[in-house]
């Protein structure tokens, strides 16, 4: 697999930075690839737009930043509007339909999943929406293996929350697979 660029976007508090770190750890530690994670750093980390970026490659990674994401996750309408045009041609846009009412037209695949709704209603904790999102993303794109993302999630989350996070990831996988079967 050649270089894949992933941009995770949303607003402060939705956990996109942590999601990026977990995704990069899944690729680097558990799938044995190379990975770099970067993030917008500054006022965004205290509310407002937030983004976290990951580059995954079988080979070495020279330029560390994301130019045209092959995979874009947008958890808010604002993030979606801001970054949709940056998607690489033929790329994959995944939106959270809880907050993104009107996904834009892009040259690529657009998938909508009720990411935050699932976290709220099926898991009773909105805070795990980022883990649900990772499940959706991995099911839809296969950017890392499902085993790798599960191990990466479990090694990062606070002790005592493993079960909740495992279920969140599983709900994300299911939502992603349901979308694929529908298409």
């Amino acid at each position: 697999m050649a270089r894949v660029e992933i941009r995770l976007s949303g607003e402060g508090g939705q956990g996109v930075i942590l999601a990026g770190i977990i995704l990069a750890e899944a690729a680097a530690i558990f799938d044995g690839k190379n990975a770099i994670q970067t993030q917008s750093y500054g006022p965004e980390s205290r509310g407002g737009a937030s983004k976290s970026e990951v580059v995954v490659d079988e080979g070495d990674i020279d330029y560390p930043e994301v130019r045209r994401p092959d995979i874009l996750l947008a958890l808010t309408q604002e993030a979606c509007d801001k970054y949709a045009s940056s998607l690489a041609p033929g790329g994959t846009l995944v939106t959270d339909e809880t907050f993104v009412q009107s996904p834009p037209k892009v040259d690529g695949q657009v998938y909508s999943a009720g990411i935050t709704k699932i976290a709220r209603e099926k898991l009773g904790k909105e805070i795990v929406a980022n883990i649900v999102a990772l499940g959706v993303l991995v099911a839809l794109t296969g950017v890392v293996s499902s085993e790798a993302i599960e191990r990466a999630v479990l090694s990062r989350v606070p002790r005592g929350t493993e079960d909740l996070n495992r279920r969140a990831l599983q709900e994300g996988f299911t939502a992603g697979e349901t979308i694929l079967h529908r298409v």
């Binding site: 770190i21 680097a28 190379n34 994670q37 970067t38 750093y41």
Partner: protein, 386 residues
Amino acid sequence: MSAEQSRVQLMQGNEACVEGALTAGCRFYAGYPITPSTEIAELMSERLPRLGGKFIQMEDEIGSMAAVIGASLGGLKAMTATSGPGFSLKQENIGFAALTEVPCVIVDVQRVGPSSGQPTSPAQGDVMQARWGTHGDHPAVVLCPWSVRETFDLTVRAFNLAEALRTPVILISDEVVAHMREKVVLPEPSELKVVDRPRPTVPPAAYKPYGPAPGDEGRDDYVPPMADFGSGYRYHVTGLFHGEDGFPTGDGEKSAALLRRINAKVEHRRADIVQVEREALDDAEVVVVAYGSTARSALRAVRDARAQGIKAGLLRLITLWPFADEAVREVAGRAKVLIVPEMNLGQMSREVERAAHGAARVVPVSRVDNELFTPDEILARIREEA
């Protein structure tokens, strides 16, 4: 999980700096947190006490640098970390450490300046300050990493050089390298060479704190053995010019000998200190000379240029000071043009020009809008010059 897999980590540049420092034997940190270097202080405050070391958050950067010098005189390997505004404040004491020959490591994670500038954005505007920030003719050893793993390696090397040469060594990073998380496998401590300062072998009564070790008499570039304060060797340390006994002197000959020796210490070991990396240079006509995170954009640009049939290459400066005169001169002799992209208004490009001495044209490229160069920007310049 395999043994190899269990050692794989995703780590920030600033974290790797701490790991490198601790591996090199650093047991004292004094600092005043400042973005984008803060993670170094944070992590040091957690890790050092558990290793029996000391962490002090000082009242400011001036006090921090003074504390580092004091700790080193007490026998500990000591460091501080800062960014531009704090680096400015530390300069006077960095000069004190250079003249009094106190080994220490100063990390400067560059952000946009001058003044408070832009704390969260990358820049490379401190490279000349790292050379000439403190007054007088002082030596400078400055190392510049481009990756997380290299941040680890060069931090270890910074301590080793500081100890071997008894001089302050600066590790100059930038916001991109400091904050990005990258896959690394750190070496086992047994795989690394760790250097300790030379200590006196003569009894206290015969000790001259700034005199040569037995066998070094007559050398004009010797590194004097250094006794730990409190170990029974009483001596005087002053920022005034001093004789071999450590006391101030107004003697012009002794002053000149001291000044020349502290510079010769570094200058005569240039071949061991200066490191560069060469990529695709054998037949290169257009050579990009770059350092730090900019060199990563440059490497991508060079690879893309090669894919388009352009004979491009990269000379990456790992040691910024002493400057890699010889490597630049050699490359300039074979290339048509040297492109020097920097996140400043062209500070190192003038050094490249000096070293190239007209053998190749030097084209500075600046970016100072808070963003890292994209590979395409550098590629466009390569195509123009090819």
